[in-house]
């Protein structure tokens, strides 16, 4: 594929000055291809959100450049940015960020109106899209009356309404239970694969690896080799092997994020008759972790660009 959708080159972001300055992103490079799903993982505070904000033209980098189909959006004046955000990007958030005073339909239609569609046309377009996403019966509901999964589907409809090139999602499944989270992931995958849009997802959620074409690990503001990563069998968090608390079981080594998880993991295996309701969950996580461990063995992709 020749056309680059989004090209991030040596991007740096510093917050504040002097002594108190925080270097949130340090010289990150990344190219996102059309139709590609990129997952960015990493510990809390590693700069994932900062990077995503810069990719979405919500935040100006301190250094480096971000190009969208050849246009350096990181250089554009503030007055040019609203149009780019409106037509090129679709955002999806952990908190959904729906406008609480507007109905489902209005939440989506208002974004089409911002792009110039008249009231009626905007509502029709939003209705069609929401119907495709299975929300036909919810059009007149206020966000507060929706379940988490429904809210996120509304947010996805809103992100898609102006035919964006790129979808940027920050922890899109973090506030959803695992079944609904899965649904949202499948939806994101079909958006990428059937509609040819690029999707960049920032997440802690290991399950998103299943749908990602590429997984990148951000730490201390820079991409790190992903091969050294493992998944906590209890909480599902990605952990760096060197820093993890390890647990030996049946000749296998597991990596846990904390002592608590390690004890729960070992305890859960020991007292396998205990019905505390969390166990099956723990087990399915474990199964997932084993699966991804196997896959990782064949993954060599550690080059971030």
């Amino acid at each position: 594929m020749t056309a680059l959708t989004l090209d991030v080159r040596d991007v740096t972001k510093r917050f504040g000055d002097g002594e108190t300055a925080v270097l949130a992103v340090r010289g990150v490079s990344l190219a996102v291809q059309p139709g590609e799903i990129v997952l960015i993982m990493g510990p809390s505070g590693s700069g994932k959100t900062t990077l995503l904000s810069m990719m979405g033209a919500l935040l100006k980098p301190t250094g480096g450049s971000i190009r969208l189909d050849g246009t350096a959006i990181s250089e554009l004046s503030e007055s040019r940015l609203p149009d780019i955000r409106l037509r090129q990007f679709g955002f999806i958030f952990q908190d959904f960020n729906l406008l609480s005073a507007l109905s489902v339909l209005e939440n989506v239609a208002i974004v089409a109106e911002l792009a110039g569609l008249r009231g009626r046309a905007a509502r029709d377009k939003a209705t069609t899209l929401l119907t495709e996403l299975g929300l036909a019966a919810r059009l007149d509901f206020l966000p507060e009356k929706l379940s988490g999964g429904e809210k996120q589907r509304v947010a996805i409809a809103r992100a898609l309404i102006n035919d964006p090139t790129l979808i940027l999602a920050d922890e899109p499944t973090a506030n959803l239970d695992s079944k609904i989270g899965h649904e949202i992931m499948r939806l994101l995958r079909s958006i990428a694969k059937e509609q040819g849009r690029s999707v960049v997802i920032v997440s802690h959620d290991q399950r998103i690896r299943d749908i990602a074409d590429r997984v990148l690990w951000l730490e201390d503001g820079a991409f790190k080799d992903i091969v050294t990563m493992a998944t906590d069998p209890v909480c599902g968090m990605a952990v760096e092997r060197e820093r993890a608390v390890s647990a030996e079981k049946d000749g296998d080594t597991f990596f846990c994020c904390s002592r608590g998880c390690r004890e729960e993991f070992l305890g859960g295996l020991r007292e396998d008759g205990r019905a505390d309701g969390r166990q099956p969950h723990g087990w399915s996580r474990l199964a997932g972790a084993l699966r991804s461990r196997r896959r990782r063995a064949s993954t060599t992709q550690s080059d971030a660009s």
Binding site: G56, L58, D95, N97, L102, E113, K151, N175
Partner: protein
């Protein structure tokens, strides 16, 4: 843009307390000005009722006298014929006028007493509800409301101008908050005042097709020592007594009302904007320009002020209605001028209130959308 309008309306409606505060504040402040204006306009109307209803097109007074009230006009009787001789004058009626009291039993009320000739074609009572409007020697026509209050009726005697007169007619529309109009014979009036051959005003009806202004100018030119004004000029002149008197009071109250309303609206719009910072950030991240956000803020301000204005107007109307039902002879007149003035106030309030949050809105960082906040 309909969706942003909708958003402004919904945001406003969602916080009832805030809406109530801003709308109530505006209503209160604006109705303060509206009601004061209406009261003074009502008083001015009452003050000019006699001039309006006397039936004269031109009023001729002593040179330099431009009002009916607060001044005295004295003209030699010979002026009457001189005025009548001026081209364009159809008929004339001389009257005597003085502020006095009419007394019946314990009831004593201030009245403008008008002395009318027996053949008066103008200047008499315009709505006689009982008895007759012509007054001969020893007779008087008094206001119906006064008669009711004093407990007198046709045939009873009242004290006026230091003598007595018998009631022959009751008139309506001849009372105001502070006084009423009573009609006596010009001969009685003159006799009680020492008999000098003088009149207060000469009322003129102009010939068909003649302009009152032109006739008034001719009278002033041809008759020495008089001031002649068309009815409309005279009315305007008379109203100025009230407006001059009330201007300061109304100005002060209007300024207070304006400041109070502005403060309330500005504060509520400001707080509403603050409370919606995150949603403004979301809109920005979705691609809304600052001016879209300004419009939302402005629409919120305009809506609260418009609703407040409407409520203030309704309140003033209601107050007028309530006052009309009391036996106070007070009339509230909401004039177009007053509506326009207060409307302008309201627009200015909305405008100023919306300016304040502009910096706030411009400063909203679209990157807030990724920070954890209250889930929508």
């Amino acid at each position: 843009m309909s969706a942003t309008l909708l958003l402004a309306r919904r945001n406003l409606a969602r916080n009832r307390v805030r809406l109530l505060a801003s709308v109530g504040g505006v209503a209160l402040a604006l109705s303060l000005t509206l009601a004061l204006d209406a009261i003074y306009a009502g008083v001015a109307n009452q003050l000019t009722t006699y001039i309006d209803r006397a039936g004269a097109d031109v009023w001729v007074a002593q040179g330099g006298v431009r009002n009916l009230h607060m001044v005295a006009s004295t003209l030699p009787e010979s002026v009457v014929d001189q005025v009548k001789a001026v081209d364009g004058v159809a008929t004339v009626t001389p009257i005597l006028e003085a502020t006095d009291t009419v007394a019946a039993g314990d009831e004593r009320a201030v009245a403008y007493v008008i002395g009318l000739p027996a053949d008066a074609s103008m200047g008499g009572p315009w709505e006689v509800v009982e008895g007759r409007g012509q007054v001969g020697p020893g007779e008087i026509v008094v206001d119906l409301a006064f008669a009711r209050k004093a407990g007198v009726r046709i045939g009873d005697s009242v004290g006026v101008l230091g003598g007595e007169a018998r009631i022959v007619g009751l008139s309506r529309g001849t009372a105001s908050l502070v006084n009423s109009v009573a009609f006596v014979s010009i001969d009685d009036f003159r006799a009680m005042r020492g008999g000098a051959p003088v009149v207060s005003f000469v009322l003129v009806r102009v010939a068909p097709g003649a302009s009152p202004e032109a006739v008034a100018a001719d009278i002033e030119r041809l008759v020495a020592g008089v001031t002649a004004q068309s009815r409309s000029t005279f009315v305007a002149q008379e109203r100025r007594i009230v407006t001059d008197m009330s201007a300061d009071v109304i100005s002060i109250m209007s300024v207070i009302g304006f400041v109070v309303a502005l403060a309330v609206v500005a504060l509520t719009v400001h707080v509403a904007t603050l409370a919606r910072r995150r949603e403004f950030g979301v809109l920005k991240a979705l691609g809304a320009r600052n001016r879209v956000l300004y419009r939302i803020v402005l629409v919120q301000a305009v809506l609260s002020v418009a609703v407040g204005y409407a409520i203030g107007l309704a309140f003033t109307g209601l107050l007028g209605f309530a006052v009309g039902r009391t036996d106070l002879n007070l009339e509230l007149a909401v004039t177009a001028d007053s509506l326009a003035k207060v409307g302008l106030f309201a627009a200015a309030i909305a405008g100023f209130a919306a300016i304040l949050p502009i910096r706030q809105v411009a400063g909203v960082d679209p990157a807030v959308v990724f920070r954890r906040g209250a889930p929508a």
